[in-house]
């Protein structure tokens, strides 16, 4: 059946075709011949996740709706829900500001409200689809071990996605009206990222302040928290009850979420086009920079470093994306503050967090400096040997890492010089390895494509993550015994060497 052009079904078919092709391009990295291999890899990964799920949630399969279980399930669901809101806000902001086909659609005589209604529904669907690959194996295992009652959890995921999208669209539109189109893009994306991280960090902070650990569920399962929580029959637990197989709760939660999403679509879809036009108009505003004191004596390397720092400093969106990883440093920093006079145990916990964060931050910055060069021909056409250009960009990355981590290491040095020394070495190694990996896998891209960097080279992304984990493990073990640290250090080196071996380093470079 072919839908009538301009109808909601016709728009939905159009969106579905675009989404399917985008997804295929993403998993095959734009090479259709890789599809079979990608599907095989995904299948292996799904099986692996099912095995992990079996060991992780198998023992909860027989759990009933008692208060501690409901509290733990609710906290886990809230964690996922906050991430869903974050993702939905990100998608909604993109729908406002990304031009792609909006000009074509807005210039057409089609009823754009229908298209935007479909687009908002697509956001909800994509949020649910993103959650399912990670959630489904756990739900499947609970169904296998605990019976069909657990199938209600799939309904809860759909309800959570619908409610998260409704809230995200409402929040973005509210921001649009309150602070205007110009600021909304940045603020919405920062809010999205903070929401995504806030609940995890909040739980960790609460756990540290009350119990001195970073375990996320220690607070919600504590006796004092449970004493304050409503009793098991309360409506507050309906989502958790629905996940545990209560059909009435499931119908209630799912129905309420869909009504909420429908109401938001009805209120916003007709004005979405207007918002998009306003957002486009906001993009052309002038930004005055503080005049510098004039041309300073400089060398090409220094000019390159200054340029990298200026570009980074002036792009709040990029800073927010890069610095989000730094949010996760708040709990360990708090732990450091709390344990300033305490035993070595707390410092032992800090070392891997610092090393891991340094590796991840260096990877992001190195991508921006090395691959995300907006004027590659200009730099390549300059009378500067290519190795100096690379060196200057690495120096720019190292400079930022030093500025971010030096104060933390300095404070740690006052409390525990040994842990500070180990952290320093770990940070240096993790940052160097992440930068080297980005250098070996460098490719030409725009800085605005920062969010898609993981897609362009998944190998580099995995290598960077495993290398950071390896160096974090090395530093942790080294803090206790340098000799024993040889084993994790060897593994980390193996990851880095493997990345070098698999990198396209032999590809032709500019002369």
């Amino acid at each position: 059946m072919i839908a009538r052009p301009g109808s909601a079904v016709w728009f939905a078919a159009h969106e579905w075709r675009l989404a399917r092709r985008d997804w295929l391009a993403m998993i095959t990295a734009g090479r259709p011949e890789r599809l079979r291999r990608a599907v095989f890899a995904i299948a292996i990964f799904v099986i692996f996740l099912h095995v992990v799920a079996y060991w992780t949630v198998g023992r909860y399969a027989a759990a009933g709706p008692d208060q501690p279980t409901l509290a733990a399930v609710t906290a886990t669901m809230l964690l996922s829900w906050f991430l869903m809101i974050s993702q939905a806000m990100e998608s909604t902001t993109r729908a406002f500001y990304s031009r792609s086909d909006l000009d074509l659609i807005l210039a057409s005589p089609a009823a754009v409200a229908r298209l935007f209604a479909v687009r908002i529904a697509t956001v909800a669907l994509s949020v649910a689809m993103m959650a399912l690959p990670l959630g489904a194996p756990f739900i499947d295992m609970l169904i296998v071990l605990g019976g069909w009652r657990w199938a209600g959890a799939y309904g809860v995921v759909a309800a959570m996605a619908a409610a998260a999208t409704a809230l995200a669209v409402g929040l973005t539109v509210a921001l649009f009206r309150v602070i205007g189109a110009k600021r909304t893009r940045f603020v919405a994306q920062v809010v999205a990222a903070v929401i995504g991280a806030a609940f995890v960090i909040g739980l960790q902070v609460a756990a540290i302040l009350s119990y001195g650990t970073v375990s996320r569920l220690s607070v919600v399962q504590s006796r004092s928290a449970l004493a304050l929580a409503p009793d098991a029959a309360s409506i507050v637990w309906w989502p958790a009850r629905a996940a545990l197989g209560d059909a009435t709760a499931l119908v209630g939660v799912l129905g309420l979420s869909l009504v909420l999403l429908g109401a938001v679509i009805a209120m916003v879809a007709s004005r979405f086009g207007e918002y998009a036009v306003t957002a486009a108009s906001a993009g052309a505003s002038k930004v005055q920079a503080r005049p510098t004191g004039g041309f300073r004596p400089t060398s090409p390397r220094r000019a390159l470093r200054r340029k990298e720092w200026a570009l980074l400093r002036r792009d709040p969106w990029l800073v927010s994306q890069t610095a989000m990883q730094m949010l996760y440093l708040i709990p360990p920093a708090l732990l450091l503050w709390r344990s300033f006079t305490a035993s070595d145990g707390a410092y032992q916990l800090l070392v891997p967090v610092l090393v891991m964060a340094a590796g991840q931050l260096a990877g992001g910055l190195a991508w921006l400096a090395i691959s995300g060069e907006d004027a590659p021909d200009l730099v390549a056409a300059a009378p500067v040997p290519p190795r100096y250009i690379v060196q200057a960009k690495i120096e720019a990355v190292v400079g930022v890492i030093a500025v971010v981590f030096a104060p933390l290491v300095a404070v740690l040095a006052v409390a525990s010089p040994w842990h500070a020394l180990v952290s320093f070495a770990g940070i240096a190694l993790a940052a160097a390895a992440a930068t080297a990996i980005q250098l070996w896998f460098r490719s030409q891209a725009k800085r605005s494509q920062f969010r898609r960097r993981q897609v362009s080279s998944r190998l580099a992304t995995f290598a960077e993550a495993f290398s950071s984990i390896g160096w974090a493990a090395t530093a942790t073990v080294a803090a206790a015994s340098v000799v024993l640290a040889v084993a994790p250090a060897s593994l980390a080196l193996l990851v880095v060497a493997g990345a070098w071996f698999m990198s396209p380093r032999s590809a032709p470079r500019a002369a």
Binding site: R302, A310, P383
Partner: protein, 261 residues
């Protein structure tokens, strides 16, 4: 009588670059100092590949390139020092102001700060960018961006300017400013090599025109020389001898190798 040969700004010999097919195929080309040279050719003829190899952005498979007497393949840094490269897509940074952009380029080309500052002011004034000197480039139109890129190319006072379709997408006012700046450079002894699809620009501005097709130079000379070579009037009957426009001449020239192929 002793003949005085003008120094050469660019010498290319047997330049070859192959991707999945030959993009540049044994190209020979010389451009004299103080000359405005237009390189024409149909899409995919090898113009941009040639210019990118001269600018040091692509390494040729074979052949040689000498820029102002410097072997650009053996000593690319020395060759780049006297060159500037501008593409149709302005290479600027959205988050920098024009003045900061020029300071950055002056740093890359090691221009003495005082000299760079006065030259930057002069260029920004000349290109009507002075009122925008402290605005970030992100809000600039295509024409303004191209003018910033042009100022960047000139701030280090290059002897050879290579431009790939510099007038694409510019309005009449901006295009005129860019053309006048380029003519002024040539008048001051600089050399300009430019590709363009706007044949009228080549006809009016270029001292010599090279026509490239299938990676080879198929004709070269002044407009009159090209007309004679093309035999435009006789060959296709599309022109009127000496009155044939460059468009007629160009189409006749590029049609010949295509027919031969």
């Amino acid at each position: 009588m002793q003949h005085f040969a003008p120094p050469l700004a660019l010498e290319i010999h047997a330049l070859t670059k192959r991707f999945d097919r030959p993009a540049v195929d044994g190209l020979n080309l010389t451009v004299r100092c103080g000359e405005f040279y237009a390189l024409l050719g149909p899409n995919g003829a090898g113009k941009t590949t040639t210019l990118r190899m001269i600018a040091g952005l692509l390494r040729p498979d074979a052949g040689s390139i000498r820029v102002a007497g410097v072997d650009a393949l053996a000593d690319p840094v020395a060759a780049k020092q006297v060159m500037a490269w501008i593409s149709d897509e302005p290479m600027i940074y959205d988050k920098l102001t024009p003045l900061e952009y020029l300071e950055f380029i002056a740093g890359l080309w090691r221009v003495e700060p005082a000299q760079a500052r006065s030259r930057a002011q002069e260029l920004l004034d000349w290109l009507d960018l002075l009122p925008h000197a402290h605005e970030r480039c992100e809000g600039f139109s295509k024409g303004m961006r191209q003018k910033v890129a042009l100022a960047g190319a000139l701030v280090h006072d290059p002897r050879l300017i290579i431009l790939d379709e510099p007038l694409t997408g510019l309005d009449a006012g901006s295009a005129r400013q860019v053309k006048s700046v380029l003519r002024e450079r040539v008048g001051a002894g600089g050399t300009v090599i430019m590709t363009t699809h706007i044949l009228e620009v080549a006809e009016r501005m270029a001292d010599r025109i090279g026509v490239i097709a299938h990676g080879r130079l198929i004709a070269e000379g002044t407009l009159d020389e090209l007309r004679r070579k093309a035999g435009t009037d006789a060959a296709g009957g599309v022109g009127t001898g000496n009155d044939a426009s460059l468009e007629d001449t160009f189409l006749a020239l590029v049609a010949a190798p295509a027919e031969a192929a």
